[in-house]
Symmetry: C2
Subunit: 248 residues, 2 copies
């Protein structure tokens, strides 16, 4: 069944949808008729089964709350050094499918692109739409929050809010001993806020490495193969899901 995110929280059994894009998808693309059922997800993250009362006024009746909950047991923020081209679009879509709570990007020392405030605002708008579409398709209970930092200092100032910080770093996998990522994930408890930091194509600079580890980041390897900048976040989120959702 089609799922839609809706702003706010419902105050009664009847709900009127006002978002133009959502209305267009519901009544122009999907051609919903009276009594058609959809899932509405408000900002409280609860999925609610609802049916169309009146297509003309976009009024729905909430039928019941659904117990369905597909969020990771932790809040994971992905932070990547500004990558080239449209890789951030790709990362946003896939990280949303894989359960990220937040998708951040920052100007890393070795980022090739330089985006001004205006460009960043446009990009945030685009990425938020991508996140919303992917979250609906993955039947998420929430839309990941997208934030692009114009200044690396602003990003670094956010680090103190996290319970654990992992810095993806190319290091040879150590045979016969558990990796830092495994050890880190074994320490994770439900509800914690985790941050995974990834470099741009050129990687993390030595300065950044020192700065980030001083601020509490733990350098973790993601296996012996070299991955592209846009692939590493998908590896980390998949490994996290495997460790925390499947291997319990």
């Amino acid at each position: 069944m089609q799922e839609y995110f809706v702003k706010g929280v419902p105050t009664g059994q009847n709900v009127i949808i006002t978002d133009k894009d959502t209305i267009k998808h519901m009544f122009t693309v999907m051609r919903l008729q009276t009594d058609a059922q959809v899932i509405l997800v408000f900002e409280d993250g609860i999925k609610r089964l609802a049916k169309v009362v009146d297509p003309a006024s976009q009024t729905f009746l909430i039928v019941e709350e659904l117990p369905d909950h597909v969020e990771l047991p932790v809040e994971v923020t992905i932070a990547v050094g500004f990558p080239k081209g449209d890789k951030l679009d790709f990362i946003t879509q896939k990280a949303t499918e894989l359960g990220a709570s937040q998708i951040w990007a920052f100007p890393a020392d070795w980022s090739v692109v330089r985006w001004d405030k205006k460009k960043l605002n446009k990009k945030v708008e685009k990425l938020t739409k991508i996140a919303q579409g992917a979250a609906q398709q993955s039947k998420r209970n929430r839309i990941p929050h997208v934030e692009l930092f114009a200044d690396k200092q602003e990003f670094l100032a956010q680090l103190s809010q996290f319970d654990q910080i992992f810095l993806a770093y190319e290091e040879s996998a150590k045979a016969g001993e558990k990796s830092n990522l495994v050890k880190g994930l074994e320490r994770v408890t439900s509800g914690q806020k985790l941050l995974f930091i990834f470099g741009p194509e050129g990687g993390i600079s030595p300065d950044e490495f020192e700065r980030l580890t001083t601020l509490g980041a733990c350098a973790v390897g993601l296996g012996p193969r070299i991955m592209r900048a846009e692939t590493a976040p998908l590896y980390a989120l998949s490994a996290l899901s495997y460790a925390l959702e499947l291997n319990t």
Copy 2:
């Protein structure tokens, strides 16, 4: 250092490169001069440090064998039902980065696209190039083998060669007990041949599910969120690397 795959195995210290695309990349794109060093990977999967003896005749001298080995401890084949558009390009690139040994695709019941033999041959050629490029970039010791089956029966006839077969299947994650994927990966021993099967966008048909499980496939869930057809193989390969390469 730039890595190149070379056909055959070296018979002496001197090697002449004959592949046109490789020569073009070496001497036109990278402008290698005499004494420049590269890594050559022959079909034996051993990385060899080599230096240019003569750019005009594309002659290299092998300096030494390198111990560097980045392959997964198992041979993993990814098999996907023909997906739409250029998703197979994407899957091939990413599965190569994530360590797959083989990338297969087959016409599933719910595949929308229908490709004839001629189209398939062209696609194999394209995907093999993508796999080669991605393998070089990831510093792999081998290029994944690409195979597209024109007929599902041909694909099914291959299943008996695998030690374990996993069928990605949307099922709710069972709280408090280990998932089938975790249990399966705990049984894996070094050198085994594993097959992961994924449906196209519409998923695996009930007939296929029955047929594949009868042939020994174990249905595994990949977490509670719904992933796109091209994302699920990346999750599986990342989880596999985490379980077999990091958590040892």
